[in-house]
């Protein structure tokens, strides 16, 4: 049998997150297919076809798939996916929205956010905000799985020569409607895939002062993250939240500025290669995961850091 990957894209480009699922799929099977569902998404199919290891692309090009509504995509994934041994997608908000719905249509217990593959039926995944790693095995005929992006390398975007096949299964359920989107556009690297991430916490104190984090990040060419406390207080937008219930990141360098290091925050960043913490409280739990800790006031440390570079 083969593995089906649900591609994530914006109707013009394949999103890099999808590439991590390809690497995970390759650990199980050489026959890797990808489903590109969207509207006017031909260019995505072409990009997908050249991804290393991918052998076949199904394109479902249909106006009702334009906004990736779960009500329309889940029946498509369920219909096509039932011919496969595994259905994979990287655990983005979009696939977390779609895949469980598809799994239930297939009468399958989905497996969320795996960090390891033991064998075809057996997976590792973090539970309790990453305080433990569970090994679970599934008896369902099709395994419907979301992949933790940080746990698997991205596959190369070149090297593949997959065949592209149009797909005719079309679903349009009118019970939900896309109204609009407020997308935060920025020139900074994308948080999930960035090599360097600078995150700010409650200590920044205000939205204005949070700009210190942006300036610092720009000097390092880094993406910007935030703790939930900073997001809750309105210092930073929600899509920057790192943690158990926000984004999971594992950059080469993670700098936590004025963040205490609650377990829910650590859940989102403790697999980073090098962790730096800047906090004025020497007892802050963030220091227990930091490779380099600086005890001090961020408002003096950040300018000094920038000057020293």
């Amino acid at each position: 049998m083969a593995i089906l990957i649900l591609a994530e894209h914006d109707n013009s480009s394949l999103l890099p997150a999808t590439l991590n699922s390809v690497t995970a799929a390759k650990l199980i099977d050489d026959e890797i297919h990808m489903l590109v569902a969207g509207s006017n998404c031909k260019s995505v199919a072409e990009q997908a076809a050249s991804v290393a290891h991918v052998t076949e692309i199904f394109v479902a090009d249909y106006f009702a798939y334009k906004d990736f509504l779960a009500e329309n995509l889940a029946p498509l994934v369920a219909k096509i996916g039932s011919n496969y041994s595994h259905v994979f997608a990287t655990a983005t908000t979009s696939s977390k929205n779609i895949l469980p719905r598809a799994a239930a249509l297939m009468d399958v217990q989905a497996i969320s956010d795996i960090s390891g593959i033991v064998d075809n039926d057996t997976f590792e995944r973090p539970i309790y905000a990453g305080s433990m790693i569970a090994t679970i095995t599934s008896s369902d005929i099709v395994k419907v799985v979301t992949i933790r992006g940080t746990a698997f390398e991205a596959a190369s975007v070149t090297g593949g020569k997959a065949k592209i096949t149009p797909c005719t299964a079309l679903f349009d359920q009118a019970a939900s409607k896309f109204i609009g989107e407020e997308v935060v556009k920025s020139d900074r690297p994308e948080l999930a895939g960035a090599k360097v991430v600078v995150s700010g916490g409650r200590a920044l104190g205000s939205e204005e002062q949070f700009s210190l984090i942006y300036d610092f990040a720009d000097q390092l060419g880094a993406a910007v993250g935030a703790s939930r406390a900073a997001v809750d207080a309105g210092y930073a937008p929600n899509d920057m939240q790192v943690g158990q219930t926000g984004k999971i990141v594992a950059p080469d360098l993670y700098i936590a500025v004025g963040i205490s290091g609650a377990i829910q925050h650590l859940a989102g960043m403790k697999d980073s290669k090098v962790i730096v913490a800047i906090n004025k409280d020497q007892e802050a739990p963030i220091f227990s995961v930091a490779d380099y800790g600086l005890v001090g006031d961020l408002f003096t440390a950040l300018p000094e850091f920038e000057a020293a570079m």
Binding site: I136, V183, D239
Partner: protein, 249 residues
């Protein structure tokens, strides 16, 4: 209008959970249990809709053991009108929970089902979406804002790129994100009153649902420990270490 609010009994979010000595599962005996924080937010949202006069009745439901009555009583103390315990002896996975909830949707005919986006024990983030599949209802997951207007629910959703707004025809499923609201505390008089509110028990067999698990937990272990780090003297020292030792800047 009626709202169904499924709540889950979980280890309190302040408690650190560790593996059992034999690694067969998480050690949860004798730990403080609470309503899952996201479910608490769902309950709060239901109460606010009731306070606005949009909702008449709030039904809290949980799938779990006898002790999960405690969490239903908490939901009642917060403002739910009545509660249903779907009693099960075994640990039920999201698919099984969704199947039980589907049966309750058929009998209770709610206009809105408000769930948490994820339970903080298994971190599955599945049940609402699965209930959507089984009922055919539309879903607004990861909600940070909910408005009910006439026959539709307008949901602002927290997505990777920012915020997305969808409009759902009722009956609909909404799962709460953290910023949907800030839950209130139950007052002492309301805790007393909650003891007299109706709480009924049904079993999953009585609902005609097969909740037998599809996955098996083989073991749990601690994640790899990070090696101990160091405190640097000052910013100059830090920059030097990052440049010359870690070589990351």
């Amino acid at each position: 209008m009626r709202v169904l609010v499924p709540v889950k009994r979980v280890v309190d979010y302040n408690v650190k959970v560790r593996p059992k000595a034999d690694g067969s599962g998480p050690e949860v005996d004798n730990l403080k249990m609470s309503i899952n924080p996201f479910c608490e937010i769902a309950v709060e949202e239901a109460i606010r809709l009731k306070e606005k006069g949009i909702v008449e009745e709030i039904v809290a439901v949980t799938v779990g053991p006898q002790q999960a009555q405690e969490q239903l009583r908490t939901a009642l103390a917060l403002g739910a009108d009545r509660a249903i315990l779907v009693l099960t002896e075994i640990f039920v996975e999201p698919l099984g929970v969704a199947k039980c909830l589907k049966e309750l949707c058929l009998s209770e005919k709610p206009d809105l089902i408000l769930l948490g986006k994820q339970a903080i024990d298994g971190d599955n983030n599945q049940t609402g979406q699965m209930l959507g599949a089984l009922t055919g209802f539309p879903q607004g997951t990861f909600a940070s804002e909910l408005t009910v207007e006439g026959n539709s629910a307008i949901v602002k959703r927290e997505v990777d790129g920012g915020l997305q707004t969808v409009s759902l025809e009722l009956p609909a499923i909404v799962t709460s994100d953290l910023r949907l609201n800030e839950p209130r505390y139950a007052s002492l008089p309301n805790i007393m009153k909650a003891k007299r509110k109706p709480l009924v028990t049904v079993t999953s067999e009585e609902l005609g649902v097969d909740v037998s698990p599809r996955t098996e937990l083989l073991n749990v272990k601690l994640p790899p420990k990070r090696k101990a780090g160091m405190l640097v003297r000052d910013v100059k020292d830090l920059v030097d270490k990052l440049k010359n030792e870690a070589k990351v800047i």
